[in-house]
């Protein structure tokens, strides 16, 4: 589903965020992306979201090279990806419902579908009762869960998460991980950037480890085809 082929990302100024990164994730696979901060986790996620383009190498999503995507096609491509952001990225002047509905609205879903899907997604993260609240009325952990609901409301094929449990207590973190695991069970490819070692160990899933922009563990040789 996701395939990196000798991908390099060099930022203007000469800093190499990623060097010769190669790996592949199958559809429905769940993997952790680890490494200390600055190791290139965020850069890797940004490349998949097409927030940036690689300097070298190729990224294939479901067999299609991202390099061939035109600028105008990027929004449509992104509708197949759900992203959970570390800093939530919620719109503070809109209700929880409207925040979660955004990915559906931009894709032009029918109003009745929007309402049904939003409620289902909020129910899944246990926040259905807070549907009409504003983000700032929620705790940080709850905001994080709203972000997760927004990331999955349109049933994306790929789910990316950048430190999704950074603000949560261990118990809640485990619940969130269970959610991600459920999504991978129904065929969603999940990639989670985190440095919550205990969590990773508890989950026992594949781990892609980055160090100074190089993949030092979890590449194709070690795990998936």
């Amino acid at each position: 589903m996701i395939r990196f082929d000798q991908v390099c990302k060099r930022y203007p100024g000469g800093h190499d965020a990623l060097s010769e990164v190669s790996f592949a994730l199958r559809a429905g696979e769940l993997a952790f992306l680890t490494g200390h901060s600055g190791a290139g986790k965020s850069s890797l996620l940004r490349l998949i979201m097409l927030l940036e383009r690689p300097t070298q190498g190729q990224i294939l999503i479901n067999g299609r090279g991202l390099g061939r995507l035109h600028r105008s096609q990027i929004p449509h491509y992104r509708r197949n990806i759900g992203v959970v952001f570390q800093n939530h990225h919620l719109l503070l002047d809109r209700s929880i419902h409207d925040n979660v509905a955004l990915p559906l609205r931009v894709s032009g879903y029918r109003a009745s579908d929007v309402a049904r899907r939003v409620r289902a997604a909020l129910d899944k993260v246990g926040l259905l009762a807070r549907e009409h609240s504003k983000p700032l009325e929620l705790s940080s952990g709850e905001q994080q869960r709203v972000g997760i609901a927004r990331a999955v409301v349109h049933t994306p094929r790929i789910l990316l998460a950048d430190e999704p449990t950074g603000n949560l207590d261990p118990e809640l973190s485990m619940e969130i991980m269970k959610l991600f695991s459920d999504f991978s069970d129904i065929g969603v490819t999940v990639l989670i950037a985190t440095h919550d070692i205990s969590l990773i160990e508890a989950m026992g899933r594949r781990q892609l480890q980055l160090r100074n922009g190089r993949l030092v563990a979890g590449s194709d040789a070690d795990a998936a085809d």
Partner: protein, 338 residues
Amino acid sequence: MPRTDRTPPRAPRPAPASGTRAPPGASARRLRLRDRFAAGARHHRETAARSLVRLATAPVQSLMTVLVIAIALALPTALYLVVASLQQLAGGLDAGNRLTLYLHQDAAPKAIDGLLAQLREHASVSAVQFISAEQGLAEFKASSGFGDALDLLDRNPLPPVAVVTARDQPSAAALTALADEFAKLPPVDEVQIDTQWVARVNAIAAIGRQAVLALATVLALGVLLIVGNTIRLAIENCREEILVVKLVGGTDAFARRPFLYMGFWYGLGGGILSWVMVAAGRWWLHYPVDRLAALYQSQWSLARLGVVELLVLAIAAGALGAMGARLAAGRQMSAIEH
């Protein structure tokens, strides 16, 4: 599996494993064109309303912008009103009411008497003054200073003249028709309408029209810049929102739409307010103008700003506002990426 065409993916998805609840509707991802259209129309409605609400949350700032736009639009509108009034003055109500009938020099006195009687009985004529060739020459001698030179002529070169004053205030067209009618009478050689001043006023009005056009163009550009600048700031304040919209797959057009509506509302408000301003100015001026017109025994008054002008102003200003917003949003929108 990402597809990059405009329709969302519709490949069958794996069935949810037991124990997990996928959001319902996962199998019906195909969005029909009609639904997309309905959703689009709904989105436009919501966006328009939300933009209006957003303007209302900063009322002072919004009002200032609207006021600046209104003043910019009020200038050409006021000038338009002046020109329209001038045209009314030239074209309609008070086009002069005097005709000068030059008679044939050899017209018999009897024929002239017949003509004068006929003119005096005419329904559209209020007064007729006859100036014989001799009277004309005497007047000319007295007023021109060519007295001695004229004595050298062996015959009087001036024709007899009848000056006809029309009843009431005929329109230019009616006066011309009257002139044509009199020109056909036998002793009449030529009829001249005293319309030179009408032509002059028309020429002034033409200059005025051009000036309105030039002023309107310049100030429309000003409105574009005002709205553009305001929208640029608004976009800067909404970076986060635009970013999120783009991250979840919103197109630039989608992210831009609230700002286009914002520009439209600014323009619309400015257009309506400019109409109110000019209408108030007209009301303020119309008493003294009417008094002046009355001194000239004229029914003439300032042109009115009607509903049509209101609609034209509001729609044109709204379109200008949206255009200004579009110009401002164009490059800025694609620059917000991360």
